[in-house]
Symmetry: C2
Subunit: 450 residues, 2 copies
């Protein structure tokens, strides 16, 4: 029987990073994947959507830059070429992960893993033995039992990535990050998009002001909030609106993006504690079973690729590092790669208040920012909000809506993780002109002292 | 006679920020400007160039996105429309600065200031009295005494921003930041551009590897390094090449971007110490004359808009703050807004070695980064290099070449300012997928420990 220091089940951004780190530290590692290296992130999530969203952005630039001096006639979008580019990106990244696994001397086995106990995992007819086990099996789209949700034109985020032709109209059920990114993509390339959301606002993790502005900036998309879908038929989505009135919207295609569910199949023999949201873990990502860890979407703590990778680091540090680390969730950034982008890190104003914190905040308009104005013009909306502790002045949250947000936000993660205060960041020199300067402006809006 | 707490001469990003900060703290402030609010940065520098470079980027996207699914026929660039957009940006920002001055109750006087002594400044027939004086008069382009440099088709960065038509060909003398940004703009919109640089590499502050890659990525531009211009004629630029051979390049237009010189006129009565590079100042930006400070380009310490603004903060903190601050130069980021962008903060590998530091470094290719690959494709070059102290592991420098560099780099400034170590930043969660993740990858390339 092959004996390993570590078996990792699932090769997404949790699993492959854990395998790589352990392998680079000289451990004997087995990585088991039933589908593709890179998991949902590389193959059906982060990467393909960002590739398509970039194509949509280029299309928008080609069509709508006349006031910047760019004239183009007969601009058209070819979905199949965009899909080919996307597919090449995925394949290149998959090869990259394969190369990393080779470099880290990780054994990769393709197939469905079944856990026999904490130290034995079976794939097809082979049983592998291990000292420690990491479950990184991810999550899958939820398809709620709405009548008609099994019709051919109803897709999840998986199937929508293999569309051959753009539909004329699409209803997106669910206004979370996935729904909003697809709404941005499809509406930009000319599909009539309607988002139907059960809650009273889109993007639940986002500051309310920001969510509102996002809806306003996504001019081509119709949003129906506080609406509950009751039925899908071959040409329409039926729902009950906020007033309790039955309504319907014609839809050639329907995208279901109402949430994701932890993949906990084939783990029964481990007798893990599993909650509604996923496998229960502690701050070291340990499950109730000794030697078994659960990272990434499968533990339901933070359904983000980079959270999974961070969890991988925490487990590997716990197992083999010189110094234990704890998984902390307060400084994990998020980004929505729609047009405009949004990103944030730390507490929103609402969340801070709900936690009973005494805070100071400031919100600044991006159109006062030199680069934003030079590139986006004065009719474009954008915001930056900073939330800080009223007494210690430690920065608790930084939130952005506007161009480059997703690339600016890592600095916020670093600041919040380091517990810097308003005064500390006022002394940081931001490059001019850059959109990132809005953060400094927000800090000086809180108070003008030096 | 009008009496002020503070007179500031020059309303660029040094002067207007100083005036604003002091005004917001309740001081009576006079800001004197002989041209336009915002200074070179807003009117003839950072902002107009970024506006034009953005137009060029849109043009590039419209022309070169077919492999992403975007087809456009008959794409053309209209310089006058791009110039109009640029001008609107400038005017909006100028109004913004005017509003800020009003809000801060700063008195703004237009005209040329002459210093009578440390406490008296004359504009036209009026003499103003002040407790303290800040000189923020900036710098002007140097025009070296090359025969022919006074010909009509030879411009500096000022005049080039008012061009009415694109020339067919342009020679840019000087491969510093200004030269490279204009080379990027003009070459992208179809002008045949040649850069002639006296030194053996472009962009003197940049890591050599990065400068080389920048030249390679700017495919449309011809670079002639180690070449000394000897003469400009109506249709050509003549130079002596690295081998000492006389050469010439045909040029319909010539841009002279060989450096900038401190504006120290009308200050004679102050008897300031003035070095070749500018007014001599200490770490509080104090000159040799009590109550007189010099900030921004005029002191020659760091010719960057954001350095000037930071110096403004340091002086205002010195004059009115609760706690003195020192001007530090080691964590000031820079950015080149060419296509591709480059940005950096802290020591390059070469600079660290010249200082005798024992360092560790790692360089990673951007094409291994998910977002970079998804957007730029695998044939695009990009780099990230991190430099850290070998013993303390404190991060000394972060350098980027590739998309979004200018918006990513502020986080590096924060990290270097905070003296974070490799291990600290390994624990920071970077959003996925983002180009910013290359920094984390570089840190793990230095060593794989957790």
């Amino acid at each position: 029987m092959d004996i390993f220091d570590l078996i990792v089940i699932g090769a997404g951004p949790g699993g492959y990073v854990a395998a790589e780190r352990a392998g680079m530290l000289g451990k004997r590692v087995l990585l088991i994947e039933k589908e593709e290296l890179g998991g949902v992130c590389t193959n059906w999530g982060c990467i393909p959507t960002k590739s398509l969203l970039n194509s949509a952005k280029m299309y928008d630039h080609a069509r709508n830059s006349e006031d910047r001096g760019v004239k183009a006639t007969a601009v058209s979008f070819d979905l199949s070429t965009a899909m080919t580019w996307k597919q090449q990106t995925i394949e290149t990244l998959r090869s990259g992960i394969q190369f990393l696994m080779k470099q880290a001397k990780v054994t990769v086995v393709r197939g469905e893993a079944t856990c026999l106990d904490a130290h034995h995992v079976q794939v097809a007819d082979t049983v592998y033995q291990t000292e420690d086990l990491i479950i990184a099996t991810g999550s899958s789209p939820v398809v709620p039992p709405i009548p008609g949700s099994d019709l051919d034109h109803v897709m999840t985020s998986n199937e929508v990535l293999t569309l051959k032709e753009l539909p004329e109209s699409m209803v997106i059920i669910g206004g979370g990050v996935i729904g909003i990114e697809f709404a941005s993509f499809f509406s930009t390339v000319g599909v009539k998009v309607t988002v139907v959301e059960m809650m009273d606002e889109i993007l639940p993790m986002v500051d309310t002001e920001f969510a509102k502005l996002m809806r306003r900036e996504m001019k081509e998309v119709d949003f129906h909030l506080s609406c509950k879908v009751t039925k899908i038929t071959s040409d329409a989505v039926h729902y009950v609106d906020a007033q309790g009135v039955e309504q319907s919207i014609a839809a050639q295609q329907v995208l279901m993006s109402v949430g994701r569910r932890a993949n906990t199949q084939n783990l029964e023999a481990l007798h893990l504690d599993i909650a509604r949201t996923g496998i229960v873990v502690d701050e070291y990502l340990k499950t109730n079973v000794p030697h078994v860890y659960a990272i990434g979407d499968v533990n339901g703590k933070s359904l983000l690729a980079h959270s999974a990778s961070r969890m991988a680091d925490v487990v590997i540090a716990h197992l083999y590092g010189e110094r234990k680390q704890r998984m902390r969730y307060h400084a994990i950034p998020w980004a929505v790669y729609s047009n405009p982008e949004a990103a944030g890190c730390g507490l929103t104003e609402q969340a801070a208040k709900e936690q009973g914190k005494e805070i100071v905040t400031a919100t600044v308009q991006m159109r006062a920012n030199g680069r934003f104005l030079a590139e986006q013009g004065k009719r474009s909306g954008g915001l930056c909000k900073v939330v800080a502790d009223k007494h210690t002045k430690v920065i608790l949250g930084i939130h952005l809506l506007g161009s480059y947000s997703s690339e600016i936000i890592w600095g916020a993660a670093s600041i919040i993780e380091s517990e810097l205060r308003i005064q500390d960041v006022k002394e940081v020199v931001f490059p001019h002109p850059s959109v990132s300067e809005v953060i400094k402006d927000a800090l000086f809006s809180i108070d003008h002292t030096l």
